[in-house]
C-alpha cells in the first residue's frame, strides 16, 4: 500500500458518463474512485466487470481494467477472472435487473464459491435503459401506480437472498451518500471473501421525485448496537428492515494476513 494516498481522480478516465443529470450512478462512480484511492490500489491491478444496464456502464469511466460484459453475466466472468488471476482486485457491478432477474441464478453460486471479490448492485427498482419497465425489486404499489407489468408479482428481497445463499459480507448503502458508499466499498473490498453491497438508488427519469422523497424518508443507519458478526441479527435486519444502511453481516475472519480465510458456512 502506498503511504501517500492517490487522488480519487486518478481512477477516473477522461470519458464523460452518459447518465441522466442527477442520476445516482455519478455518486457511485465517485465512491468507487475514492475507495480505490483509500485502499491505495494500483490502477492496473483493478478489474471492474459489469453486465448490461445504465449502471453497468460504470467500468467504462474508470481508469482501471473494465469489462462491460453481457446482460446478467458479470458474476461468472468475474469469478473466472478472479479464479485465474487471484492477484487482481475484482469488482463486479450492475443494476437490479441485471442482478436479480437475468443474472439471479448466478448469485448463490458465486457466493458458494466465495471468491475474494466484491459485488456492488445499484438497485433503483426499475429498468432504466429500456425506459421504465418493472424490475424484480419494484414494489407492487409502484407497479400499480404506473400500470407496469407483473402487478401480482412480489418483489424480491436482495439482502435476504444473498444472506440465504451464505454470503460472508453483506452491506446496504445508498447512492445519495458518497461517504457511506466509500466506507462500505472499502470494507467490502478488504473483506477476504465474497462481499455484497446493496445500493439503494433513484432513477431520476423513471422513478422521480416521489420515489426519492420516499426513499430519503425511510432510510436510516443501522443501530450502533447491531452486532454485524451475529448471523441471526443480520437475518432479522434482512427480513424486517429493507431500509437499514450499514454492514448487516460480516462473517468473522479466522486469520488475517496471507493466511486469510473466512470461516466456512455450516
Amino acid at each position: 500500500m502506498n503511504s501517500i494516498e492517490k487522488s480519487p481522480m486518478s481512477f477516473r478516465n477522461e470519458i464523460p458518463p452518459v447518465w441522466c443529470t442527477g442520476c445516482g450512478d455519478y455518486g457511485v462512480l465517485k465512491s468507487f474512485t475514492r475507495a480505490f484511492a483509500k485502499l491505495g490500489l494500483k490502477n492496473e491491478s483493478i478489474a471492474i466487470i459489469s453486465g448490461i444496464g445504465c449502471s453497468s456502464r460504470l467500468p467504462g469511466y474508470c481508469a482501471a481494467y473494465g469489462f462491460n460484459t453481457v446482460h446478467g453475466r458479470s458474476l461468472p466472468i468475474a469469478t473466472g477472472l478472479k479464479t485465474a488471476r487471484p492477484d487482481l482486485t475484482v469488482v463486479a457491478c450492475g443494476g437490479d435487473g441485471d442482478a436479480f432477474a437475468i443474472g439471479a441464478g448466478h448469485i448463490p453460486h458465486a457466493i458458494r464459491r466465495n471468491p475474494d471479490m466484491t459485488y456492488f448492485v445499484m438497485d433503483n427498482s426499475i429498468y432504466g435503459l429500456t425506459k421504465g419497465q418493472a424490475s424484480p425489486t419494484t414494489s407492487r404499489e409502484i407497479k400499480m401506480l404506473k400500470g407496469l407489468a407483473g402487478q401480482e408479482e412480489m418483489p424480491l428481497n436482495p439482502v435476504l437472498y444473498v444472506m440465504a445463499s451464505g454470503a460472508g459480507f453483506v452491506a446496504r448503502t445508498q447512492a445519495g451518500d458518497m461517504k457511506h458508499m466509500t466506507e462500505m466499498l472499502t470494507e467490502a473490498i478488504r473483506y477476504p471473501g465474497f462481499s455484497f453491497i446493496h445500493c439503494l438508488s433513484v432513477c431520476v427519469t423513471y422513478q422521480g421525485r416521489v420515489f426519492q422523497e420516499d426513499l430519503e424518508k425511510r432510510i436510516h443507519f443501522l443501530a450502533p448496537e447491531h452486532n454485524k458478526e451475529n448471523e441471526d441479527a443480520a437475518y432479522q435486519i434482512a427480513r424486517n428492515d429493507p431500509w437499514a444502511l450499514g454492514v448487516i453481516y460480516r462473517r468473522p475472519v479466522v486469520a488475517e494476513g496471507n493466511g486469510q480465510r473466512v470461516e466456512p458456512v455450516e
Partner: protein, 574 residues
C-alpha cells in the same frame, strides 16, 4: 480384398454385471501385447443403471471402427441382448456364450451356428467359493483363453484393475480369472490367434481423456464446465490434471456460466476451455458472440449427441454442425474443428488452442458421443510437430494502447495487471480503443477486422484434412468426424472410391477439396443428421456442385459398412 485380422466381440449385461470392466481389461491386455483395439459402449436412455453393452474389436492393425458382425457374443440375459439387436449381428460362425439358466434362444441368434456355450456362472463360482461379483473376471479368463493370450498378461491386467482394492480382493479375482481360463478348455481351443506386428505396449484411452490430456499439454490452464453426457469425463479428467499443472477448474452452475467463466479467465490471460454437448452449446451461444466481438480466445469441445433438446443423450449424431458454424446473433468469426478418432483428439486440441490463442476468437471442437466415450488402443502421440498456441500479449509501448487497432491483423491483448494497457472492453461494438460506438462505418470496419483474422487463419490451416484411396478413383466420399471411419473402410475394399476428410470444417479447406475433386465422376457427402447440414453448407460455400449427393440419416447407431454400400447403390453410383 485382404481379410482383416480382427475379432469382434459384444458383451451384454445389466447394471452390476461388470461387462464394461471385462471389456476394458480385454482392451488393456490387447494393448499390452502389442495389438490394437477399440471398445464402444451402449446404454439405454437412462445412462446409469439398466442394460448396457460393450462392443470390442481387437486387431493386428489400428482398428478404425467396431464391426456390427460379431465373432463372439456374451450375454448374461437374452432379454438384455435383444435391446441391442441393431448394434450386433450374429453371423454364421458366431459363438454365443450365455448363462445356463437362459434356455430360450432369441431369434436374433438364429444365424449363429458357431457354438452355443451355456455357462452356469453362479454355480461354477459358488463351487469355487467365489462371490457372484467375480463373474466378470471369470468371464475375462474365458475370453483370454479364447484369444490364446498368455495367462500372465491377463493376470497382470486383473492385478492392475484391482490395484486400489485390498489384497484379498485381488487374490479372489485372480482366482476367478484362473477359473475362467481353465473352465474354457473343455469347450474350445483358441478362437483366434493374433500375431502382433511388434510387442510394443500402447496406451488405451477414450476421446474425452485424449481431449483433456491434449488440452493441458497444449497449455490450457483453466477449465469451467457443467456435467452433461457424453462430455462429463472431460470435466472429471481436467479436475485431475489441472491442479497438477498449476491450473484451476470450476464446476459451473450452468453452461452460460461455464463459458462466462472461461471468458473471464481468458480475459485474464490464461488459455481456457470448456466441454459440453448440444444442450449446453445452445446455452453457451450468447458467450460465443461475446468472445467474437471482444476478441477473447476460448475453446469449446462439443461432444455431440442426438438432438434437438434432450434428444438421445447417450447416442451419437452430427447434428450440431449448423449451430457450431452459424449459431448466435450477428456476424462473428469462429473456427470449427472435428477429430475423426481418439488419437486425432490430440492434434485437434492443439489446433483448437492455436486458432483460439493466436487469432483471438472462439473455437468449437465437434467431437461426438462415439469418439468421446469409446476407448482405443492408440499409437503414442508426438506433439512436437503440432501447432503451438501463442497469444500476442501487449507490452508497454510509447503509443497509446489500442485494443482493437484497425491497422493490425492481430491486435495485442493487454490483460489486467499490465501497466499502461488499461482499457475497457465490452460486448458493445467499439472503437479501436474499446470505446462504445454506434457508428455504422466503424461497425463495418470492425467486422472486417474480425473476419480478416478468420481469412488469415484459413490460409495457415493448410493440410488440415486427410484423403484416402487412389487419386484416379472416379467416386469421392466426403465425411467428417467419426463418420469418416466407415467411408474410409468402404474405400479400402472399393478401389473406385476415394475419401476426403476435413479436420477443419469452418473455415473449410475449399481449395484442397477442389483440387482433390478434379476429374472425378461423382461426389457424395456422408453425415449423421436428418437435414444434411454439412452437405448444404458445402453447397452454400460452393465447395461442391448441384450434382453432389447427400448420404445422411439421423443418429442413434454408428454407420455400418453395408449401410453405406446400400446408400451408394441407391444413389446410382454403383
Amino acid at each position: 480384398m485382404k481379410e482383416k485380422q480382427v475379432w469382434n466381440l459384444s458383451l451384454v449385461g445389466s447394471g452390476g454385471d461388470g461387462v464394461m470392466t471385462t471389456a476394458n481389461m480385454l482392451l488393456k491386455t490387447a494393448a499390452r501385447t502389442g495389438l490394437y483395439g477399440m471398445m464402444t459402449q451402449s446404454y439405454g436412455p437412462q445412462i446409469r443403471g439398466g442394460e448396457a453393452a460393450a462392443h470390442v474389436t481387437i486387431g493386428v492393425d489400428p482398428v478404425t471402427m467396431v464391426d456390427r458382425k460379431k465373432d463372439w457374443i456374451v450375454c448374461f440375459r437374452f432379454a438384455d441382448a435383444v435391446r441391442f439387436e441393431k448394434e450386433m449381428e450374429a453371423a454364421k460362425n458366431t459363438v454365443v456364450i450365455h448363462a445356463a439358466e437362459e434356455t430360450e434362444i432369441p431369434a436374433m441368434f438364429a444365424k449363429a451356428k458357431g457354438k452355443n456355450i451355456p455357462i452356469p456362472f453362479l454355480k461354477v463360482l459358488q463351487e469355487a467359493g467365489l462371490s457372484e461379483l467375480a463373474k466378470n473376471v471369470f468371464l475375462f479368463g474365458i475370453l483370454v483363453r479364447a484369444l490364446g493370450w498368455k495367462e500372465e498378461d491377463g493376470k497382470a491386467c486383473v492385478a492392475e484393475m484391482f490395484s486400489r482394492k485390498s489384497s484379498a480382493v485381488v487374490s479372489s479375482n485372480i482366482r476367478a480369472f484362473e477359473l475362467g481360463l481353465h473352465y474354457m478348455e473343455q469347450f474350445t481351443g483358441p478362437a483366434k490367434i493374433f500375431k502382433p506386428k511388434s510387442g510394443v505396449s500402447r496406451p488405451v484411452m477414450t476421446g474425452n481423456e485424449a481431449c483433456a490430456l491434449a488440452s493441458v499439454a497444449a497449455g490450457c490452464r483453466f477449465y469451467a464446465g457443467y456435467p452433461i453426457t457424453p462430455s462429463s469425463e472431460i470435466l472429471e479428467e481436467m479436475n485431475e490434471l489441472l491442479p497438477k499443472a498449476g491450473g484451476k477448474l470450476i464446476q459451473a452452475e450452468d453452461e452460460i456460466s461455464a463459458l462466462g467463466m472461461v471468458i473471464g479467465a481468458s480475459y485474464g490471460g490464461v488459455p481456457s476451455m470448456t466441454a459440453t454437448s448440444g444442450p449446453g452449446l445452445s446455452l453457451m451461444t450468447e458467450m460465443l458472440g461475446l468472445s467474437g466481438i471482444a476478441e477473447i480466445p476460448l475453446v469449446v469441445v462439443d461432444c455431440q449427441r442426438a438432438g434437438p433438446s434432450t434428444g438421445m443423450p447417450s447416442r451419437m449424431e452430427q447434428s450440431d454442425f449448423w449451430h457450431a458454424v452459424f449459431g448466435g446473433h450477428g456476424d462473428f468469426p469462429r473456427v470449427v474443428l472435428a477429430p475423426t478418432d481418439v488419437r486425432d483428439c490430440y492434434q485437434t486440441m492443439f489446433r483448437a488452442f492455436y486458432c483460439a490463442e493466436n487469432f483471438q476468437l472462439p473455437v468449437i471442437v465437434l467431437s461426438d458421443a462415439n469418439i468421446a466415450q469409446r476407448a482405443e488402443v492408440i499409437d503414442p502421440v508426438d506433439t512436437d510437430s503440432f501447432e503451438k498456441p501463442k497469444r500476442l500479449n501487449w507490452t508497454d509501448g510509447p503509443q497509446g494502447y489500442r485494443r482493437f487497432g484497425l491497422d493490425a491483423l492481430i491486435s495485442p491483448m493487454a490483460f489486467p495487471g499490465t501497466a499502461g494497457g488499461i482499457h475497457c472492453i465490452a460486448g458493445i461494438e467499439h472503437s479501436e480503443k474499446g470505446m462504445p460506438s454506434s457508428d455504422g462505418a466503424m461497425h463495418e470496419a470492425m467486422n472486417q477486422k474480425r473476419f480478416r483474422k478468420w481469412e488469415a487463419l484459413s490460409e495457415t490451416a493448410v493440410g488440415w484434412h486427410r484423403h484416402y484411396g487412389p487419386p484416379k478413383a472416379p467416386h469421392v466420399l466426403i465425411a467428417w468426424g467419426s463418420s469418416a471411419a466407415v467411408a474410409r473402410e468402404f474405400a479400402e475394399s472399393h478401389p473406385d472410391f476415394a475419401v476426403f476428410v476435413p479436420l477443419i470444417l469452418h473455415p473449410f479447406p475449399k481449395k484442397a477439396l477442389q483440387h482433390f475433386l478434379k476429374n472425378r465422376k461423382t461426389v457424395s457427402v456422408l453425415e449423421m443428421n436428418y437435414q444434411g447440414q454439412f452437405y448444404h453448407y458445402l453447397k452454400g460455400i460452393g465447395a461442391i456442385d448441384g450434382n453432389a449427393q447427400s448420404f445422411k440419416r439421423s443418429g442413434g447407431q454408428p454407420f455400418h459398412i453395408e449401410e453405406l454400400g446400400q446408400m451408394i447403390q441407391e444413389g446410382g453410383i454403383l
